[in-house]
Symmetry: C2
Subunit: 356 residues, 2 copies
Amino acid sequence: MNYALIMAGGVGTRLWPMSRANRPKQALQLVGDRTMFQLSVDRLSPLFKPESIFVVTRAEHAPILAAQVPELPPANFIIEPEGRGTAPAIALAAIHLRHFDPQAAMVVVTADHYISKEKEFQRTLQAAIQAAEEGHLVTLGISPSGPSTGYGYIQQGRQRGIAQDLAYYQVERFTEKPDLETARQMVQSGQYSWNSGMFIWRVERVLEEFARQMPEFYAQLEQVEKTLATPAYENTLKHIWPRVAKQTIDYGVMEGAKDVVVFPVDIGWSDIGSWASLLDLLPADAEGNILNGPTLGIDTRDSLIFGKDRLIATIGVKGLVIVDTEDALLICPKDREQEVREIVKRLADSGQERYL
Amino acid sequence: MNYALIMAGGVGTRLWPMSRANRPKQALQLVGDRTMFQLSVDRLSPLFKPESIFVVTRAEHAPILAAQVPELPPANFIIEPEGRGTAPAIALAAIHLRHFDPQAAMVVVTADHYISKEKEFQRTLQAAIQAAEEGHLVTLGISPSGPSTGYGYIQQGRQRGIAQDLAYYQVERFTEKPDLETARQMVQSGQYSWNSGMFIWRVERVLEEFARQMPEFYAQLEQVEKTLATPAYENTLKHIWPRVAKQTIDYGVMEGAKDVVVFPVDIGWSDIGSWASLLDLLPADAEGNILNGPTLGIDTRDSLIFGKDRLIATIGVKGLVIVDTEDALLICPKDREQEVREIVKRLADSGQERYL
């Protein structure tokens, strides 16, 4: 059987003040009237029954997300006592799936991205599952639209096969977020794609890699696995998880893994990481504005104005991000919105938890 | 006896969204923790007992203002059924005062201005009352700090006298708001001061001028006066006032009046007409900001941020006016804040009364 795992553990600090500790990014309606999490489930639904869709998230976010997609069985929400990076999160889900179905193949997607070409995405997933069943660790590589320094890159080598008319290639190398010059060279070479954070593999196969490359963690994982479906599970997980070393799936597994392949895809993928990314993604009006909620602009251009109930009146505003919530308001030029993190940090440092 | 009249009939459109139809400018705390109206009363209190301080305002604003200064007798709020300009407002108050005290002298001040040198203001009023008792129509002229095109100007002629060590001068001419070139010439000549809208005169004397210069209106006024202290007053006023021609005291009376004098004064006078005027008036912090309410700024300068309960976080903001209220928010560069009126107009035109 095939299963999908939605990684929904983040908060989305750069989308403050809309994203909050108790209202994570994936629970927000950022594109249209479905939340990021709902969109993730929607995209998977033609391929997976609700009972085959799993979610790994934090305890405090599980009820929020579960309420948004009531058709998912509550037991499919796999709770991490605390976040230890993508490698442990995926491994935890993998042992759950192995417990249900030792032959399981799994698709790992995130709730952080928007995908405009759903049919193409679904077609790729089907091809990727076919490649995974042949034993490959499969990743989806996004054709770069520019020399972004915000993503990791995947270098592709020789073609390894074709599934459902889609060619896939040997992965030569995973690279970290590069500097601009390196990014330029990589994009120019035509050999690189962006690391989407989406993976497809047989559960047994990726757990093999965990065992081989992260043996210490794998031993911890086995202790948890032994207690699956027993009353001891929750306490064991709570005891072990804080002792687990933080690790990403890229560093911990993919870089050193055998037989990794990539499908270069064009699925209309966008990282919804920040307000600027929404300015790039969402359709603007004739003045270049993206407006949400009641607004009244005089000479207002190229701005993202995300309000809700209150009227936002602007005069002579250009390239500004304005995000209004019940108790906090953000105003910053779109080219400085990476500093939103600094706002969140200062709030945390000054003990203003109510705004976090 | 001497009486003071506070003109408190305006709304203060340019201070939207803080000023509203039911929350006029004079009822707002714009400078410190006293409202404009409270500050007006405070300034008069050393010279006038509460029962000698009158207010002319609109029916809907009277309860708001009365609640702010409970020591004023409710009967001292003179209600205009609708605003017909400063001339009718002053005349209406004048017949009330003549009814109480035919010998009354009256000081007319507005609630729209801030006066930082209160002692100097009070000293000038005492001198002006002395001059008024000699039969002059007295006005206070503000020494211009620049060639403003936002005020009317008063041209002074020969000295007419000295009261309490302060010289006062014949008024040669009242002029309308000038263009910039004219304003420059006037300021350079040293003969002009700004028309403050503050006047001091004996009630009988100003009513003489109304009778002479605005005979049609004066006849209407007499009809109202006959009903003073009778049950017919309110209905008579309501019947007559909409028929009264709109007129300002400057055009209707002062320009054509006999024996008008001016005290050139330096009383730290500021017109609080707009957000930019507050930026000029209020003390800024080291970054040039005037902050009110919870704020968190990164690289934020020369801005006025007026919030209340909600956090306003800003990044890379310069010279911006940000005013946040419960149901509406304004963002505009300080040099375009004259367009706030246009926002209010558009809201009215589109039937969005709840924001007015």
